[in-house]
């Protein structure tokens, strides 16, 4: 089994609580010769985008995972059944992980081998059952997150690897999922191309990423506060992919039959500090190279006032918007439906009007 996945997989023994196995690959940051065609050679033209410090993101995720109460920050990633965490008031306690799992269920197939990229504490696998996915492979940069992953009935491999350098052979997986991890990838076209490569033909990629207008309230408040207090501003929110670009990205990576849709989640918080604390607890702190290393307390005070005044609701809470983009793409295969050939129509559009005519006769 390990030979099929990757030649350099090492089995380090099973963690006690689940039927899975550990693998650590030293491949973060180096595309090795043993890997098949990871992105680099396929790139035309100049340097890669380098927006985020992946090492910093790993440290932040590790820190967030080893918090005592890390589950309370998971509301965005997974289901929130019983009691909402004390720091926030949810208007819609929707969950990304379970929605991605819903999309997997919508496909009437059983997937022998699935991959979760940037899965962290594995919020998708706990919603899936063995009938749908037989074996699961979980990837993340953060070892602490993998250690503390949620239990699932599917046998899981854990692989410590960077999302931008997938250490898997071509045509390995039937299903690749990714939930809230793609927005920290530096080279998104390259990563999508790698996902395309590790998929088998007629395999499917289902992803959810944060995009578009996420946290625009926080961004604007901080921008205005810094402008007024300090005379200039620096970016505190990372750049996001617009939904219009996503279709192009997936198409360029080689995916077919694309589906992209948006979900707007508004979470209400008591104040700006709770927003920032929760983001930190989720492991979503800023790790862009151009981030400012500190935020003046005057600026925080000003931003709190501006946020409340501009976006606050009547009950005193402030909303934070998370725009989640869901995408589904298929690796091409002959069995997939293709556009019909020109000139092969058998009915005309003019006949459409005849459909709604009241049936004195047996018209369809």
């Amino acid at each position: 089994m390990s030979g099929r996945l990757c030649r350099r997989l090492l089995r380090l023994g099973c963690p006690a609580s689940s039927a899975g196995s550990w693998s650590r690959l030293s491949g973060t940051g180096r595309p090795g010769a043993g890997r098949s065609g990871t992105g680099r050679s396929g790139l035309s033209g100049g340097g890669r985008m380098n927006v985020f410090s992946r090492e910093m993101k790993q440290r932040q995720k590790d820190w967030a995972a080893q918090l005592q109460d890390s589950q309370q920050y998971d509301y965005l990633r997974e289901e929130l059944h019983l009691h909402p965490p004390p720091a926030l008031l949810c208007t819609r306690s929707d969950q990304v992980g379970s929605r991605v799992a819903d999309r997997v269920y919508d496909i009437a197939r059983t997937f022998p081998l699935a991959l979760d990229i940037g899965g962290g504490r594995s919020h998708i696998a706990e919603h899936l059952s063995k009938e749908v996915v037989e074996r699961f492979c979980l990837t993340d940069v953060s070892q602490q997150s993998l250690r503390r992953r949620r239990p699932s009935e599917i046998p899981t491999h854990c692989v410590l690897a960077d999302e931008e350098f997938l250490p898997f052979k071509e045509n390995t997986f039937d299903l690749v999922v990714s939930s809230l991890a793609l927005h920290w990838i530096n080279d998104l076209p390259g990563a999508l191309r790698q996902i395309h490569q590790v998929l088998k033909p007629d395999g499917v990629f289902i992803g959810a990423m944060v995009g578009g207008e996420t946290l625009y309230e926080l961004r604007c408040s901080l921008q205005l506060a810094e402008m007024e207090r300090e005379g200039g501003f620096s970016p505190h929110i990372s750049p996001y992919t617009a939904v219009t670009d996503l279709g192009n990205l997936l198409g360029q990576a080689g995916f077919n039959m694309l589906t992209v849709d948006i979900d707007d989640i508004q979470v209400h918080y008591p104040g700006i500090m709770e927003v920032m604390t929760d983001l930190q607890g989720m492991g979503e702190s800023n790790c862009a190279w151009n981030r400012k290393s500190l935020l003046h307390r005057d600026t925080i005070l000003a931003a709190a006032a501006i946020y409340k005044e501009m976006y606050g609701s009547e009950d005193g809470s402030i909303p934070a918007t998370f725009e989640i983009l869901y995408m589904i793409g298929w690796k091409p295969h002959e069995s997939q439906a293709k556009p019909a050939k020109r000139g092969s129509a058998t009915v005309s559009f003019g006949d459409l009007s005849k459909i709604s005519r009241p049936s004195g006769t047996d018209q369809p």
């Binding site: 910093m56 440290r59 932040q60 820190w63 946290l215 926080l218 961004r219 901080l222 205005l224 506060a225 402008m227 007024e228 207090r229 300090e230 005379g231 505190h236 929110i237 990372s238 008591p270 104040g271 500090m273 709770e274 920032m276 983001l279 930190q280 979503e284 702190s285 800023n286 981030r291 400012k292 290393s293 500190l294 935020l295 005057d298 925080i300 005070l301 000003a302 709190a304 006032a305 501006i306 946020y307 409340k308 005044e309 501009m310």
Partner: protein, 94 residues
């Protein structure tokens, strides 16, 4: 996404060295003390809701009006807010 940068992991060399020397973060150090102080922020801020609203309105007016936002445009309102905040902090510390 945003965060007061001083609270995240190891921004500076000094902090890295400090963390390696001290055995764990559970002891009292400048970062845990600062973090504790920041925890009081929402409570103190809630006591200055009026001043905050006035300041917020002043800044928000620039987004709709013709006047462009520049440094210290709403300095008076901010001073009032800051004084209220500092007083609330002093009262609490007592």
């Amino acid at each position: 996404m945003a965060l007061p940068r001083v609270f995240t992991g190891a921004p500076s060399i000094l902090k890295q060295i400090y963390l390696r020397l001290s055995s764990s973060m559970s002891g009292s150090n400048v970062w845990s003390r600062t973090r504790e102080k920041m925890r009081l922020f929402p409570e103190l801020f809630a006591q200055c809701a009026n001043e905050a609203a006035v300041y917020g309105k002043c800044v928000a007016a620039t987004t709709t009006g013709t006047q462009e936002l520049r440094k210290d445009l709403c300095a008076k309102e901010f001073e009032a807010l800051k004084i209220c905040f500092t007083n609330a902090a002093k009262k609490r510390a007592r």
